[in-house]
Symmetry: C2
Subunit: 287 residues, 2 copies
């Protein structure tokens, strides 16, 4: 299947943190992803819920698995956790390495339409179709196909929210740390959307959580948003969680915004509140 | 004081993970160290215990603070945690970067006597005198000078054990993950000791935990040793915990060896059992 190949396997909190590579048909390159299999996969009859975790700018599949400490909580709750990379890899597109917030490691979890990027930069279809299907098939003996959740950080928080809102029911639970909540209104988003989607702003709103939530018409959903109050990018208005909260309230979608005094944008911050996010997802996925 | 300068400060689990640099007189170079100040430093009258954590080969002060997740446990128990670097930095000694297990990031927590290394490679005096004193002075308002413990990993596990056994009473509690227990009898140790201490093996035993414990004559001490059973370096007999256990039993020093089925040498393994080590230290330091 897709030349699925195990790259690494380390025992942690009674389960196994693995990294695989495979040939992606959506992205037309070899991609890595991580998967944590908690101890409950052994000998259990019940199939387990899955959480996808989407990382932020400059990250690979490694950051979350080495820095967050999530495995403790995944093991406690018996949840499988899958972490894709943040962009196509090893595909040379002119200009893809000129900046840290566009191109390589900055795929923004959308499907690009501008010619130069459209062939490879299809992270939305990669995550929500190809990788989702791969996990269902390759791990069919342990994965419950009806219980997928998603979370992410920064650009990956944007990815988690947009993936959920664009694909009603695909993810039963969603949460985000310091997400880019309103990319059409912040410098990171404007740069990425101009590059990947072109100048026509009517196309941009299809990839903006604050815009998408206004027309959400899927199963009931509560958004859990976490934000460090001392996060430089929050202060610089790259993240704009208040815009998302206002949009949610305007249409009656439940949203929780937890503002964390003194915390920044780093994995130090994420690691502190991951436990609460796993509790939130577990409550929904194991209801 | 020593040009003490704060390099970074991140809030995590209610406390602050900081990194400082200072001019070391023992090592004759600028050194970084990490210190975690748990939430209990704020407004508390009681002074807090301190644990030193010594890292392994190839590490800096960063590995433990970004990969282990220890801050959760330090915050729970109200313990300050200090992490030095693993060798002098920015000092060019001929041959110091030729191998990953000798020279830069491989100081072995001893005081070198061979001429080429003797000026800078004095990690034992650095950790147990200079940095210890610096912590007592610079953080005198929050540190309890009577309650220091020490732990470490691999080369740093060796460092923790040797520092404790050579300086009776300096550290009240000691534990180690996958320590090099008998360096005079393993390839890593033979290489390092030959380089730093010369050919005279009678000098080597003064830096070998298995040898030192046989003549330990300090306050009562229990050694907590943790070892992954699937650790390649354990299998290759670089670590030799059984030799230390046998030596402890021969002289009646209490020792606990926890062998962990399926676990390797990585921070995935360490993160899984750190909680138990903090419980062990807290029981002694907060008795």
């Amino acid at each position: 299947m897709d030349n699925l190949e195990q790259i690494s396997c380390n025992k942690i909190f009674g389960g196994f943190q693995k990294v695989y590579s495979h040939d992606s048909s959506e992205l037309k390159c070899k991609m890595n992803f991580s998967i944590y299999l908690p101890p409950q996969v052994e000998g259990g009859d019940a199939k387990l819920p899955v959480i996808f975790y989407l990382s932020g700018l400059t990250c690979t599949e490694q950051n979350f698995i080495t820095k967050s400490g999530f495995q403790r909580y995944a093991a406690e709750h018996g949840i499988i956790v899958v972490g894709p990379d943040t962009s196509p890899r090893g595909v040379k597109v002119e200009g893809d390495d000129e900046s840290w917030d566009f191109g390589v490691s900055a795929g923004f979890y959308l499907d690009a339409t501008q010619e130069k990027w459209a062939t490879n930069y299809r992270m939305a279809s990669y995550v929500n179709k190809e990788l989702y299907e791969l996990i269902l098939q390759a791990f069919s003996n342990v994965v419950d196909p009806k219980r997928f959740g998603i979370m992410g950080h920064s650009m990956g928080g944007h990815g988690a929210l947009v993936s959920t809102l664009r694909n009603p029911g695909l993810y039963k639970s969603v949460s985000a740390f310091a997400p880019i909540c309103n990319p059409t209104a912040c410098p990171w988003g404007v740069k990425a959307f101009t590059g990947y989607l072109g100048e026509d702003k009517s196309k941009w709103v299809e990839w903006d959580a604050t815009e998408l939530v206004k027309k959400y018409d899927g199963p009931p959903l509560t958004l859990l948003i976490d934000q460090g109050a001392a996060d430089t990018f929050y202060i610089q208005k790259q993240l704009l969680p208040e815009n998302l909260v206002e949009a949610c309230r305007s249409v009656g979608v439940p949203v929780i915004l937890n503002l964390r005094e003194g915390y920044d944008h780093s994995y130090y911050y994420i690691s502190t509140y991951l436990n609460e996010h796993f509790e939130f997802h577990a409550k929904i996925l194991k209801a």
